[in-house]
């Protein structure tokens, strides 16, 4: 029987089911409801863990680093400026190969100040060496959070579960929350082989000279590539427990007859999914949800895009002066295909601009109109700008 839960509440209760021993967080909109709900579970005695209310996101990430290194399952959550403030620590956590899970309640980056949803925060730390999984709805956020702990602890890599701020975190929907026994059967107690222990002293985070640094980076890169299989397995195995699966690295709607592919990440996929199912020409279109952005699933993407004539990449972020971030990576992946699809790359929904249902038709019309779009912000109304800025 599904329960009516706000996304943040569902995520908080899921985190509790994963039995974290240390939670550290600093409040930032729209992450607040998640950590408030966890704090309440701790206050009510429903979650036995050390909840550390730190003085900054920088310290939030540092506390969970110290905690996970000292042998405890750890959790934090943040968004936007918080992600940027903790970015140095995020690189450090990943470089030290410390397993943990954090939720990024995706939000735009200042300036100009925006508290609303897009994915420029998590995209800006894409090279930190974390696994990044993007969720299309709150049920997926629940299931992905549980999967994330298993992936993190098996790969010794941190996992960022990206959930669109407000759009998902503040949306109440029916949610199937798994039982404690189900989560326990899937997720064994935290065991970190390199945990700090006076009985077996290790030195972590040492100085590495040019004699060893490239090898350390290779090993980290390789670990992320290998994590693809763990992501697939976690999704399959959790589907075995819960009955819900999400396709592993990619979730695909549509079959081989499709000539147009639309690829995106996060909650926009849900809107596209409804639009496609209501559209008469749905068989000509394939929807590709990029669940795993890091590791970037090149082979899986190439396979999914085999036979497509056009591939539209929609993303809620951009690299100013370059264009789409996901678009560029997809383009690079497609360049290895013999009959690569034409790539159309758009940013949409920046700073919380609503992504309407008719985006689907708009995109199909753009493809049908011929030409190719290297990159543009699809929903930007240039009339609002002075002529020299258009």
């Amino acid at each position: 029987m599904p329960q009516a839960l706000e996304g943040s509440q569902a995520i908080a209760r899921t985190v509790a089911l994963c039995r974290p021993q240390v939670v550290a967080a600093y409040p930032i909109t729209p992450q607040t409801h998640i950590v408030e709900n966890i704090a309440k579970l701790v206050a009510d005695g429903k979650l036995d863990c050390e909840y550390v209310s730190v003085e900054s996101e920088f310290s939030a990430a540092s506390v969970v680093l110290g905690a996970a290194a000292a042998g405890s399952r750890a959790y934090t959550a943040s968004a936007s400026q918080g992600i940027l403030l903790m970015s140095e620590v995020l690189y450090n956590i990943a470089g030290m190969r410390i397993p943990m899970v954090m939720t990024c309640a995706n939000r735009a980056i200042s300036a100009p100040l925006s508290i609303w949803n897009d994915q420029q925060d998590s995209m800006s730390v894409r090279d930190a060496g974390w696994i990044q999984l993007y969720c299309a709805d709150n049920q997926e956020a629940v299931d992905t959070t549980i999967q994330a702990y298993r992936i993190a602890e098996r790969t010794e890599l941190p996992v960022m579960v990206c959930v669109d701020g407000f759009t998902l975190t503040h949306t109440l929907e029916p949610i199937e929350l798994p039982g404690q026994d189900e989560v326990d059967s899937f997720l064994p107690p935290y065991a970190f082989a390199r945990a700090l222990d006076p009985a077996r002293p290790l030195s972590m985070g040492t100085l590495v000279s040019p004699d060893h640094y490239p090898e350390a980076r290779h090993s980290h890169h390789h670990a992320l590539l290998k994590a693809q299989q763990e992501i697939i397995d976690a999704d399959l195995d959790w589907a075995g427990v819960s009955g819900r699966g999400y396709g592993g690295l990619l979730r695909i709607d549509g079959g081989d007859t499709a000539e147009i592919g639309i690829l995106t990440l996060g909650s926009v996929m849900g809107t596209l999914r409804d639009a496609r199912s209501e559209h008469p020409g749905r068989d000509a279109v394939k929807l590709i949800q990029l669940r795993s952005f890091r590791p970037f699933p090149i082979e899986a993407l190439q396979q999914a895009c085999q036979g497509l004539k056009h591939l539209v990449v929609l993303e809620r972020a951009l690299s100013p002066g370059a264009g789409g971030i996901v678009g560029s990576e997809v383009r690079a992946a497609m360049s290895e295909l013999r009959d690569a699809p034409m790539i159309h790359n758009y940013a949409i929904g920046l700073g919380g601009r609503d992504v309407p249902l008719d985006l689907y038709q708009t995109v199909l019309d753009m493809v049908a109109s011929g030409g190719i779009n290297r990159f543009s912000i699809l929903d930007a109304d240039l009339e609002k700008l002075p002529p020299e800025d258009r």
Partner: protein, 191 residues
Amino acid sequence: MIEIRIHGRGGQGNVVAAYLLATAAIDEGRFGQAFPAFGAERRGAPVVAFVRIAERKLHRHNQVLHPAFLVIQDEALLHVPGVLDGLKPGGRVLVNSSHNSELLSEQYGQQFFALPADSLSKEYLGRPLPNTALLAAFLTLTEVLPTEALNKALRDRFRGTLLDNNLRLVQEVATRVPAGIWEDSFHATGT
């Protein structure tokens, strides 16, 4: 599927109203979805929340642009540009007002139902918190869900005297408001 847009002011329980309505739908075995169009607004500023109720799971997370119903918690918001925008043809407006429904309908060119939710909530809850009364009226007018589903959602969220007062308020509104007169419009406007 029906889509509802709720207008209110910060502090009036606008988001709670949306959540209660979607929760009532989910408790009845339907799909329900509710979310605010959050701003950085403080108490008293105009706020908007959206509700979808459907027979099957919806995946969309876009804002409701063409609601079948508007619920307006403060009649002064009727003067705010855009509040009545996008209402579907045949759509209805439920407003917290002590004015006459026919007069309002005539004035704004839409079908209104006015409920004096402020005075009702003052009487039952001790303060002008119109959301429960408006939800009870909405469910009674449309019969989209039984008012008992709202009671259950209230029980999930509130306790003690506050809950009892809210439940009594629901009962009072359900007896005051004509039942099912908007049922047609909800079928007409549903997709």
